[in-house]
Amino acid sequence: MSASAPAILNLADVAPAFRDPTRESQAVFRRVMDAVARPGTIHDLAFAPDAPEGLDRAAGAVALTLFDFETPTWLDPALRGGTAEGWMRFHCGCPLTDDPAKAAFALVTDARAAPELAAFNQGDAKYPDRSTTLVFQLPALEGGPRVTISGPGIKGEASVALAGLPNGFWEQVQANQAKFQFGVDLIFVAGDRLTALPRSTRVIIQGN
């Protein structure tokens, strides 16, 4: 939990979310599941509702679907105190945490300023699934430096070219994969689209 008590939620600033929470969240969940099962494939979430300022549609949809009262959530400092925070408190009901190591989910809107992957909850030997799932909001899912990926859910090899990630990010992903079964899972969103790289995916940095 954050050190100070959260401010009283101003309902007047909260925008609506899913019109039909059951069906829409199931539709989003299906796409997130497919993205994690087939790492690197890109899925479309254009049917999701508008997200508040600072969040892309796909980021909002993932938050509405996955975050709830049982998942302490680390929010990017850029989102703290804004309409996006209030929107998530109202619609997801997720407790917010300032401590990356306690977070079940993390929503990163500025990948270059975010803590390293190793700073988040890595899971423990009994419950490796309790590690943090990070949601990175990027400028684009294509057009960045290309890396080769392989592993469960990928036939042979595939590649991703995520834009807007900091230098050294892929080395962090390699280190994260190396300590499998521990490690964090990664979801990337940009605009209406989403892709994922679970901790089981191996990354080969091209040009090395």
Partner: protein, 156 residues
């Protein structure tokens, strides 16, 4: 707003939310349907059914204990004029929760308040007073006054 006014407004809102929450669903729906002019609104949170844990304190001052769970339906709506209302009602009637939220929103609007204050809130409050009164009368009619009979044992 001075602090007193904020506290006053909050306790007033608490009063009408309480009336809306405790009123029987059919009374709430009947009162709402009886309104001539119902404003347009959209759901901020569609009515959803859940449970809350009711806690109590022995004598109102002891340690908190879990009394039990009760079914609650909640909703939040935003009027087209901008006011946001919330409704938490006992039971599982979605329409009741949505109407409670809409009435809460209307009560916050100086323009819309006169339309619902008497026709819905006061009417439901009256119904509650009457029921409480009737129950109290019924209970009073069967009241037994216990008194202690002093029995004197005859010696021997």
């Amino acid at each position: 707003m001075p602090v007193e006014a904020v506290v006053e407004a909050a306790s007033e809102r608490r009063r009408w939310l309480s009336i809306l929450a405790k009123a029987p669903s059919k009374d709430v729906i009947a009162a709402w349907d009886g309104l001539a002019d119902r404003p347009a609104y959209r759901a901020l949170r569609a009515p959803e059914i859940g449970m809350v844990l009711v806690r109590g304190r022995m004598g109102g001052a002891g340690d908190a204990f879990n009394l039990g769970e009760m079914t609650v339906t909640r909703a939040a709506v935003r009027l087209d004029s901008g006011e946001t209302g919330i409704g938490y009602v006992a039971g599982r009637d979605r329409q009741h929760a949505e109407i409670a939220a809409a009435v809460d929103a209307m009560m916050q609007s100086p323009d819309l308040r006169p339309a619902v204050e008497g026709a819905v809130v006061a009417r439901l409050a009256r119904g509650q007073d009457e029921r409480r009164d009737a129950a109290a009368r019924k209970a009073a009619a069967t009241k037994v006054d216990f008194f202690t009979m002093v029995r004197t044992r005859s010696p021997g």
